[in-house]
């Protein structure tokens, strides 16, 4: 019995320790970052290599990059997920192949994505350091998680819905757009948000694809620096940049926080929908 107590106590300590560690990091982030955080910070461009000014151009670049990635990855991910969700019926072997390759894809280190993006998008396709290069590279990265989440959502649409659609003579396309997707919509939203979150956090894949310059990009072919890259640059290369690095990190984490809140909301609606 004593070993019971001891072990239980150990586990409690470990878990509370992990919690404490996390709280420490978050509080530290908030404390160090809040000092430089202000409306001005969010709306002005960086000056003096980022030691002064704000992050507006970076927020814009980040938004462009993430949007590009999402707009490209969503349709491909959606359709692939539809195929995989039906998978059991036809093309079972093809589905397994797709799934296997996606598993591999999701394990590729992000720096290797950076290498690939650089070699393929920037050089071979001639896009150079650009929002487009960065966005396309990220699209490759977030595709697996998009597909996986959407597939799960589609699979959990009750079989009766599909039966009902068939019994009414609805075509596959109509069943998809009017029955399956509406039913799976919250799950799709979860996948989207997870993908966007991943894209926002990405750094290594962007340094050599979307560029390093801090000004606001004119268009998709112009280069731009993502917020995460900015944090890296300020921390590593700019003496005295720590304060603003922390503020930027705080902004980034807050954005992710909001996104995660949205995930939870969408997930709750998802499970509620299934229950009715």
């Amino acid at each position: 019995m004593k070993s019971e107590r001891l072990f239980a106590g150990l586990l409690w300590t470990v878990s509370m320790g992990v919690c404490a560690l996390l709280v420490w990091i978050v509080v530290d982030l908030a404390w160090r970052g809040i000092g430089s955080l202000s409306i001005e910070f969010l709306t002005s461009v960086p000056r003096d290599a980022g030691r002064a000014g704000g992050i507006s151009s970076l927020l814009i670049s980040t938004m462009w990059i993430v949007s590009t990635a999402t707009v490209v990855a969503l349709p491909i991910g959606l359709f692939s997920a539809v195929l995989l969700a039906e998978g059991a019926q036809q093309n079972a072997r093809f589905a397994r192949l797709v799934r296997g390759s996606l598993d591999m894809l999701s394990a590729v280190p992000s720096i290797v994505f950076g290498l690939f993006g650089n070699a393929f998008f920037c050089i071979t396709l001639g896009l150079g350091y650009s929002i487009l290069s960065g966005g396309l590279t990220l699209a490759c990265m977030i595709l697996p998680i998009l597909i996986r989440t959407i597939e799960e959502a589609l699979r959990s649409v009750p079989a009766e819905q599909k039966l009902a659609a068939s019994a009414l003579g609805l075509s596959r396309a109509t069943t998809l757009t009017h029955v399956l997707l509406p039913a799976a919509a919250p799950g799709v939203a979860v996948g989207l948000v997870l993908g966007i979150g991943r894209a926002l956090s990405e750094t290594a894949a962007l340094i050599f694809t979307s560029g390093y310059v801090t000004r606001t990009p004119h268009d998709l072919l112009d280069s731009g620096r993502a917020l995460s890259v900015h944090i890296y640059d300020l921390a590593m290369n700019i003496p005295g940049g720590n304060g603003r690095a922390y503020a930027s990190a705080l902004v980034l984490v807050l954005m992710l926080f909001v996104l995660n809140g949205l995930v939870r909301l969408a997930a709750k609606r998802f499970t509620k929908r299934l229950a009715t």
């Binding site: 019971e4 290498l115 996986r148 596959r172």
Partner: protein
């Protein structure tokens, strides 16, 4: 699905679905082709062994010894595992079996938050808070220990969440049987649940290892960036991933090609781990959100 209401539309849909899936499936091949293509130059010029036997890393002089950096990658990964595995498994155990429901929910939420923090932010924290702590004022704290700690923080959620998931999959009857024999919750966890969940836990560990190997930013920011064999906890080193990130910006021709070789090595290592993990029943896309966010 019934094919006759709109046969043309359905045929078009089939084409769209198949081509999307084919595109998605071909990405990994595309990546392999391009990374290998860029690496080929160096491989042809230097041959395999050069990367293993060259004295050091002096790319401008044509010395491309990758071993010290590979060793650094392994050392940091191992260090991270040594710290994160017991903590992660413990946290997972705690959540699945010991904690009362509200505590477990809170705890899991926190772990998921941890999983969502981008690696640059970990790197920043490591640089500003951890490194001085380790250095203790007399020297730079950048080195193996700092890198291991930061990596451990990053793979902890993966291990914790996959352990918890594996434990939840243990059939109820097994645990009930153990309880009926008089085993308390902790003994039950140790002697019945954990062994039953062994495969899932190992799969989670393997995947976490893959993520640790592939991690770039956080390690780069606290490891000290000197190409050297891992010498001590506070000695600086540079991992393969960090090296690529540092030098891609200005590497030309052969140097650049060698960086792609390093990328290839990383891909192969991680691919092996994925295959290993799937043998234990885990897949990167199948584990919970711990595998979702930052692996930058």
């Amino acid at each position: 699905m019934s094919p006759y209401a709109r046969p043309k539309r359905d045929r078009a849909l089939s084409v769209v679905l198949l081509s999307s899936a084919a595109l998605a499936a071909s990405l990994i091949v595309l990546i392999l082709v391009f990374v290998f293509g860029e690496a080929r130059g160096a491989l042809r010029a230097e041959g395999f062994t050069a990367f293993l036997t060259d004295a050091g890393w002096h790319p401008t002089d044509g010395e491309f010894g990758l071993l010290p950096m590979a060793a650094a990658t392994l050392a940091t990964t191992l260090g991270a595992l040594v710290m994160a595995a017991p903590l992660g498994i413990g946290a997972g155990l705690f959540n699945a079996l010991i904690a009362p429901r509200p505590v477990a929910r809170f705890h899991r939420a926190l772990v998921e938050v941890l999983a969502g923090i981008p690696s640059v932010v970990f790197g920043l924290w490591g640089l500003v808070v951890l490194v001085p702590l380790i250095g203790g004022g007399e020297r730079s704290g950048q080195g193996l220990l700092a890198a291991s700690v930061v990596l451990a923080l990053m793979i902890l959620p993966t291990i914790a969440l996959s352990t918890e998931a594996a434990l939840e999959r243990v059939p109820r009857e097994l645990l009930q049987g153990a309880a009926a024999l008089g085993l308390g919750p902790v003994a039950c966890a140790r002697r019945v649940a954990l062994p039953a969940a062994r495969r899932g836990v190992i799969a989670g560990l393997v995947l976490a290892t893959g993520r640790a190997i592939g991690e770039t930013m956080a390690v780069l920011m606290v490891a000290g960036n000197v190409v050297a064999w891992p010498a001590g906890l506070r000695e600086p080193l540079r991992t393969l991933t960090g090296n690529i990130a540092l030098e891609m910006g200005y590497a030309t021709q052969e140097h650049r090609s060698v960086l792609f070789v390093a990328g290839l090595v990383l891909m192969l290592a991680v691919a092996l781990l994925v295959v290993l993990a799937s043998l234990f029943g885990g897949a990167p896309t199948a584990t919970s959100h711990g595998g979702g966010a930052s692996s930058a």
